[in-house]
Amino acid sequence: MATILSKAEKSYIVTSLTSSPPLRQDGRAPHDYRIISVITGDEVAPLANGSAKIRVGGTEVVSAVRLEVEDLTSTDAHKGRIRCNVTCSPAAYPHLNGNQQDDIQSDLTSILQATFTSNDGSTSTTPTFLHQMSETLTILPGRKAWLLNLDAVVLSDGGNVYDVLFMACRAALWNTRVPKTRAVEYRDPTQKGVAGEKTINNDVEMTDLWKSSVQTKKATKAADFELEDYWDHGEPLAGRARCPIAITLNLLPTVHILDATRTEEQAVPLKLVIIYSFSQDGDACFAGMRMLGPGDLPLEYLKGLLGEGEKYAKNLILSLDSQLKTQWS
């Protein structure tokens, strides 16, 4: 028994939105979000490296970051990578059976995975968020790196789950602290040399040169690392300001609304989910886009929406970041 509305209810919602002034069921303006509640860090998941819980109206998503050490094989990139997963609590969709819930989980996981793991389009002048972040995740270049597990759980869905999901992920990545590491090399005590120097050159044929500061092009053969900090200190992820967020616009031919409730989503099912990422200078970049629901859009209208969406995204990031900064520096 899914939530279904009567034709009269849907028509009432649509007519209210298209009348002037446009009116939503709870009196919000078309571009208002419901009240957003942000909780981060130890109050959410103390065992994780970074975590956040975002609640917007009846939609609640928890996201957590766990770092684990990974050995890099030669075929991988030389840097750390991200692995995403979204699960839904059965309490979020109590009217759906297991298979339908699995479908929703796969859908959300795939959009998250696609956004956070694509490495295309990265150049030296405009590095993507991932590129920058991967730098922080390196431990021993070419040998070991952090694998960043980004897990999100949808605890309840009261509409607009995409936006809340991405907000939760951004907040979790914001307060993630990567433990600082130091390369360490263990050598046979009969050889000359000191363990613990970062740029040590331990090429056996060049033992006499270990005191020099000449660095060769060979990758250091440091075989292991140790943690410099306690687990819960460390440095934030580079590029976290560029973390993508999603803006969902539910569309009618003449008006669009943000942050639709479940009932509004049913009355206005055509929606555009746009994922934005902003550079330090404020330049916007698309990190993904999905058009969902029945209907079609004229091209001009679509172009206009992309511009509008960018403004909303910028606002959201500014507001969200200032909230996060008050909780975490």
Partner: protein, 308 residues
């Protein structure tokens, strides 16, 4: 455009530190407040009372099965749960939603423990109240009610398994349009003489005893459907009337007021809604201000004082 709450963390009750177990014999019975019960607690230790809902006999004693308030009428003891699904009684007015169309009947969600049933023979058929049911009606049930439709009906009877049977055989009952629905806990709806309320602000409210409330544009008395021309077009129509901006805004205000009442567990009736509406207008709040916690609290505080 974006508003964040001021709460910084989970609203936790103060963590209770249990000092531990010192091996003395502890008594199971905790102190009970007069009138408040919890499942498993003894209410009365004698068998002279008759046991009603929310109780069960255990040896010589009567115990509660739900958390709620004790009710005694002469020799009958019962417990009224403070939170519960709707428990129907014959004659109750309910607002319900069609969930399934079956042969000769509809299955309806009325916030109860089971879906209710609306028989084809319990609805008014177009063409006059006394029209006999034809076979073609059975095949065209969706022309009357289809999945998702909201209607207002009365509880007529119960089936053996406790499911309710509804009817819409009065002219005031039937399909709902021109408004929106709000859900509240059923216990907050007081049983009134009439559940069709016309508020002073020009909005009609139907307070379903099952906790489903319909807020809509006001329909004048003389515009209601008369006996003679039972017009299927209008009664089973899905088309809304034209509703002006003022009425729409009033509907939003009333909806938000109802949500606040539900949030603070304040019983709802038309008097209460009228008072709350006046308070809002006096204080000149905007529509969406009612979504703020502070305003909600202030409203409830104002309501409580006026009641005393």
């Amino acid at each position: 455009m974006f508003r964040f709450t001021s709460s910084t963390g989970k609203a936790r009750s103060n963590p209770v530190y249990v000092q531990g177990f010192d091996n003395k014999d502890m008594d199971w019975d905790a102190e009970t407040n007069a009138g408040i019960t919890a499942p498993g607690e003894t209410i009365v230790s004698s068998l002279e009372f008759m046991r009603g809902h929310g109780t069960f006999p255990d040896g010589d004693e009567v115990a509660a099965t739900v958390a709620g308030t004790l009710q005694r009428v002469n020799k009958l003891i019962s417990v009224k749960p403070i939170r519960s699904r709707y428990t129907p009684e014959i004659g109750d007015l309910v607002v319900a939603r069609i969930v399934e169309v079956q042969p000769r009947r509809w299955k309806v969600d009325a916030n109860g423990r089971q879906d209710a049933v609306l028989m084809l023979s319990s609805v008014n058929l177009p063409g006059g109240i006394q029209r006999r049911k034809l076979e073609s009606d059975e095949l065209q049930m969706r022309t009357f009610f289809e999945e998702g439709d909201l209607l207002v009906a009365e509880v007529q009877a119960f089936f053996a398994d406790g499911a309710m049977s509804l009817h819409t055989r009065s002219l005031r009952y039937g399909k709902l349009r021109n408004g929106q629905m709000i859900t509240v806990p059923p216990i907050l709806i007081k049983r009134l003489k009439s559940h069709f309320c016309a508020l002073t602000c020009g909005v009609d409210v139907i307070l379903g005893i099952n906790g489903y409330i319909w807020v809509s544009k006001h329909v004048k008395e003389n515009q209601q459907v008369g006996e003679e021309g039972f017009d299927a077009e209008s009664v089973y129509s899905n088309k809304n009337d034209y509703i002006d901006a003022t009425t729409r805004m009033a509907i939003v205000r009333v909806s938000n007021i109802i949500k606040i009442m539900a949030r603070y567990y304040y019983p709802i009736s038309d008097i209460v809604l009228n008072q709350a509406y006046d308070w809002i207008v006096e204080n000149d709040y905007e529509l969406k201000d009612l979504l703020n916690e502070d305003i909600g609290e202030a409203l409830i505080a104002a309501m409580s004082t006026t009641y005393q």
